[in-house]
Symmetry: C2
Subunit: 679 residues, 2 copies
């Protein structure tokens, strides 16, 4: 006791007194300092690296002598020889305390290390994976006290790692005896630490010390695309990312056509289930191929998806989701074994699906909530995940509301005359000169504007093939700002607008963006029908958001987050000119990128986050737009550009929106007569 | 409060005061009286039948008026009309309390009813199955408060049945929505109530009230035969029983030859696993066919088997069990899903394997312990499960010891010159006249002795083909009593014994039992080699038992239980003449029949019994005969008939064992010279 030394760990600040000869790892464990170890202090895994600091530390009131730790030993020397130990580093299990000492635990030596996210406003991910590796030395069998190999293995795990009662997967039982003997009673095991459904269990075993790692998958299963991130479950690092089209597309582009396919064909739902699971296995092939790893090393996978994808993936007919009251078969989070879904991963791999919020607001929206954490926001944040359906969240620390709104596929370039998916050759940015009222544009694949030198050469490969979703938003907003389009959404004639690019097109006018016909290319124009499609889509989006604001009892929000791949490419100014989103300062509109995918990754790397989102989803107040009378009213108002009744003062302080009105009732008459003709 | 009435339940004696109008079922539940109900008191299931008693009950100090319960109501009348209600019975959920009343709960209305066992000395089985049926009415979906169908189902189950958090099997998730709607939001579910591995979960769902039952299987997976009992999980009744040969027999008759097959052939272990699982599925076909039930209704199955069968069934190579230190891959009980073992039952059916006691003392021995409960015995009981290996248990309330002893297959008629399996035509009982020293015998298939009138006609169909296990024990014991065989195990000559049936056979003598050669039949005799085989087998058995007695610190036991199919046919007197079992009064030797199978059935019907045997197995002291020096000493002594050193006073008080000695060292010399010749 008289020989106790003060040991201070940084950055935690945890401190305690320990007798001479205490290994640093032991001291760390006793103080609850987060210092990793897979081998349990046997100098094998090198996970417990620490950096001792020497000299005077007035802050801690301690002076660390050069001999405060034992000198570099043979185990450390061998490790350094074989793999190299960073300068100043020691192995925490080898260096023992000889005097007062200050010890820094570098980030990579922490179990619950932070995985840094790119954006500043969101919290980092703390590592707390479902499955961890443990190295252990097992007692040999003894005829005088017979017991099973498994029972001696679990006893060793209990003794060395303080683990609770452990089950073993059948795959472990069948390989256990060979592994123990090959490893001479030393093995590494992967243990799934358990959740609400599964008790803690050993799911994999390797003879001796396993030098590799184990992996997890974060999957964003969208109606159109499936995106997967392969993560190292020890470091949190993304090892590979892959995307592919959802093979269900052949059964219908949008969700409702897939629901219909299931209704019209007796085996339809089952076919779609098989298709998406086969697609998933193809994605696993691709991603493990890219990362050059064995798929048996993938032990955990987290899925986020909308409710229809969720049901079809699980093998549940999505019939009920196609009609009121849009009842989900289940809304809570789901834990399964990969084999139950015919997924070719480690046979005992776990599958976790985030909870759904409501029949139209799925696990993908829950993942966005997990990533963007509206429930932790001091200010009131509106989060919009823009896709075929828009999922909308509004909230702050006080409460969170959610709804979905059927925007349709117009924002993705579908149902637009010259619309196309975002791909090389698509017009993605547009500017219209307020004086000449002529357009210039940028095409995906080049940073040059169409009126800049070298543009033709730069796009020679791709050509100019159409307008993508962000392009159509920009051009319509630019048309509105340039006085080519009026508030109600009518394109003026060349005379009315002063733009030579306006031309009559049936009973309305269109606006020419690019005429490639001279060179055998397309003629790309915005028709008034295109404008109507975007008006419908943006009105659906805005009225959903507005409805949540009503329910929250507010008239404005503090900030707007655009999520979804599309959200990353939307220009906030143009979105606001269109009245897609409420009136906020432009610098308060940010993009979260694929927030659903990020949410999946958080849930993969930190199982506490699963409990967190399960709790949050139960607290989120769901609003069903279909049965809210005010939704229709908001929708009608939001059909105008930007809005028939709401003033948008911040927007009006930034841009000038001409007060043109090109129609005097003729359009409505015109449409009525068209209908009469075709009727 | 002033209107409270006294309600007394019999046989429990539980009593309480309840206001006018309280349903009897409600009163029972509040008092914790064991009164069944599947429908939760909705007058549908009729499980809550009770019998009110009227008149004066001085014992309870209460007089029950004729109107103590409400009159017979419409629900009861309808039920009586449709199915018939026993005289005096009421539905506990319909009859309400109107005055003081005494109510009897008949056995069949109890959840934890007793399943009566045939034998008097063993306790009854109390029903407490793994899986139960629950009827429930579920709230319809509400767009204003969206939630999943499953979540509303589990909420209803929590509300009506006070069940904990429930998971749902994937198979339930995929059928849930259709079942709820078809049943108009009324469904019956089967819930597996959970164990150490699985959390409570819904495994099956039926629209409306399901009038059927659910089933479980108790399987005794032996090296030679597989026996299965199909049980009703609500009543405990055995609905059908089936047996079949273990298809693994083609890989080797005994355990060690199968272990060798696995060692010699790279895919050997896997082939044997496939064979036994295929066989199991064939057994399921057979038993469900016989019972005419859908195999999807089998939701639980309990298996007992020896360690080698246990490992091969699970897909574990039994290699380690073939050599010291006989390490089991796992000894604890195992819970799995049927699908993990490719068993064709309900897809979510649970599989439970009892724990193994040691590398040579398997789950079958654990099942015997569960059935025969040595740990609950006041007196010291020796339990012997006689098969190819004998599993031996010795114990009382104080402690229980276990070992196994390699008896070999001689007791089953194998390796005996004229030995055969117990089948029609086999000699099963033998008597030798002490004066004439001539034998008479009984053959399986007839009750007549061979010297009785009509014997030839009775056995005309089968003939006389050989001696089965119990026959060989009887004939050798009879030979010993008649002075044809001496204590060391040598058959005397006709001159020495005075029996004309003794004849020279090589360098020793044989004893003729039956000569059918005149009619083209066999000549059935007992050779001295046969005697040696039985001596080896019985010495192994006895020395195992004696070793346990040493370890227990006793020289005698109070009673002996012979388990196993063979045990049922052994004559206690003859067994004791052979010195197979210790010296006890003959009426203290009983047969437990297939105690392993009974143990499986207990574990199937009462999940508490699973915890019980798991606990007991940990407490059982295992003795490994192979490393106990005294085993050899006991073995040598026990090679004599009955024993070279132990006096067997009780036996000697019943039978006279002649003190003949037919050898004067010649046999030993003879064998030595034979060896020299062949060497």
């Amino acid at each position: 006791m008289s020989k106790d030394h003060l040991v201070i760990f940084t950055p935690s600040g945890k401190r305690g007194h320990f007798p001479t000869g205490t290994p640093v790892l032991t001291a760390a464990r006793q103080l609850g300092v987060d210092l990793d170890s897979v081998c349990g202090g046997r100098g094998i895994c090198s996970k417990c690296q620490i950096t001792p600091s020497y000299g005077e530390f007035s802050k801690h009131g301690v002076t660390v002598a050069p001999d405060a730790l034992t000198p570099w030993n043979a185990v450390e020397a061998r490790y350094d020889d074989k793999r190299g130990l960073k300068k100043g580093r020691r192995l925490g299990c080898q260096a023992t305390v000889q005097g007062d000492v200050v010890i820094d635990v570098p980030a990579e030596s922490q179990v619950h290390k932070q995985v840094v996210r790119k954006r500043a406003e969101v919290r980092d991910i703390i590592m707390n994976p479902s499955t961890r590796l443990y190295y252990v030395e097992v007692a040999e069998p003894d005829m005088h006290d017979p017991s099973g190999d498994l029972e001696r293995l679990t006893a060793a795990l209990r003794r060395d790692w303080d683990l609770p009662h452990l089950e073993a997967d059948l795959g472990v039982l069948t390989t256990l005896q060979a592994a123990l003997r090959k490893g001479e009673w030393k093995v590494t095991v992967a243990i799934h630490l358990g959740d609400a459904v599964f008790s803690p269990r050993i799911i994999s075993i390797w003879p001796g010390f396993y030098e590799g790692t184990i992996y997890g998958l974060a999957i964003d299963l969208g109606s159109t695309t499936i995106a997967g991130h392969l993560c190292d479950l020890q470091t949190g690092e993304v090892i590979a990312s892959c995307g592919m089209m959802n093979p269900q597309i052949r059964f219908g582009e949008d969700l409702m056509s897939r629901v219909s396919y299931g209704m019209m064909n007796p085996t339809g739902a089952a076919e779609m289930t098989t298709a998406v699971r086969d697609g998933m296995n193809a994605l696993f092939d691709q991603i493990t191929g890219e990362a050059e790893i064995d798929r048996q090393l993938i032990v955990d996978a987290v899925f986020v998806c909308n409710p229809v994808m969720h049901h079809l993936f699980l093998g549940i007919d999505a019939y009920e989701l196609g009609q009121a009251p849009f009842a989900l078969a289940t809304s809570d989070a789901i834990s399964l074994r990969a084999s139950e879904l015919d997924l070719n991963l480690h046979p005992a791999a776990r599958i976790y699906l985030l909870p759904c919020i409501a029949g139209h607001v799925g696990a993908d929206a829950a993942a966005v909530a997990l990533s963007e954490a509206p429930d932790k926001s001091e200010d009131l944040v509106l989060i919009v995940d823009v896709g075929t359906n828009a999922e909308i969240l509004l909230g702050n620390r006080e409460k969170v509301l959610a709804c979905s709104s059927p925007t349709g596929p117009a924002f993705e370039g579908a149902q637009i005359t010259n619309g196309q998916r975002a791909a090389p050759g698509a017009i993605e940015h547009v500017q219209i000169d307020p004086v000449t009222k002529l357009p210039r544009f940028q095409v995906i694949g080049s940073d040059l504007w169409s009126d800049e030198d070298g543009f033709d050469a730069a796009i020679a490969q791709t050509g100019i093939s159409g307008i993508c979703g962000s392009g159509i938003i920009e051009v319509i907003a630019e048309m509105r700002m340039a006085g080519i389009l009026d508030g109600p959404g009518l394109i003026g004639s060349a005379e009315q607008t002063g733009s030579p690019n306006c031309f009559p097109d049936g009973r309305t006018h269109s606006y020419l963006l690019f005429d490639g016909t001279a060179h055998g290319g397309p003629k790309i124009a915005v028709t008034n029908t295109d404008v109507r499609q975007i008006q419908m889509a943006k009105a659906a989006l805005y009225s959903g958001a507005r409805l949540l604001m009503d329910k929250f009892g507010v008239d404005k929000v503090d900030r707007v987050v655009l999520a979804g791949a599309f959200g990353a490419h939307i220009s906030p100014k143009h979105a606001m000119v269109l009245g897609m989103i409420p009136d906020v300062p432009l610098d308060k509109v940010t993009s979260a990128g694929n927030a659903a995918g990020t949410g999946a990754r958080i849930a993969l790397l930190n199982t506490d986050a699963r409990r967190e989102i399960e709790t949050l989803v139960h607290k989120i107040h769901k609003v069903e737009t279909a049965i809210e009378p005010r939704f229709q009213e908001h929708f009608v108002n939001a059909s105008a550009i930007p809005n028939a009744v709401e003033p948008f003062p911040i927007l009006n302080s930034i841009v000038h929106l001409p007060n043109a009105k090109f129609n005097s009732g003729g359009d409505r008459q015109g449409r009525r007569s068209r209908r009469a003709r075709t009727g």
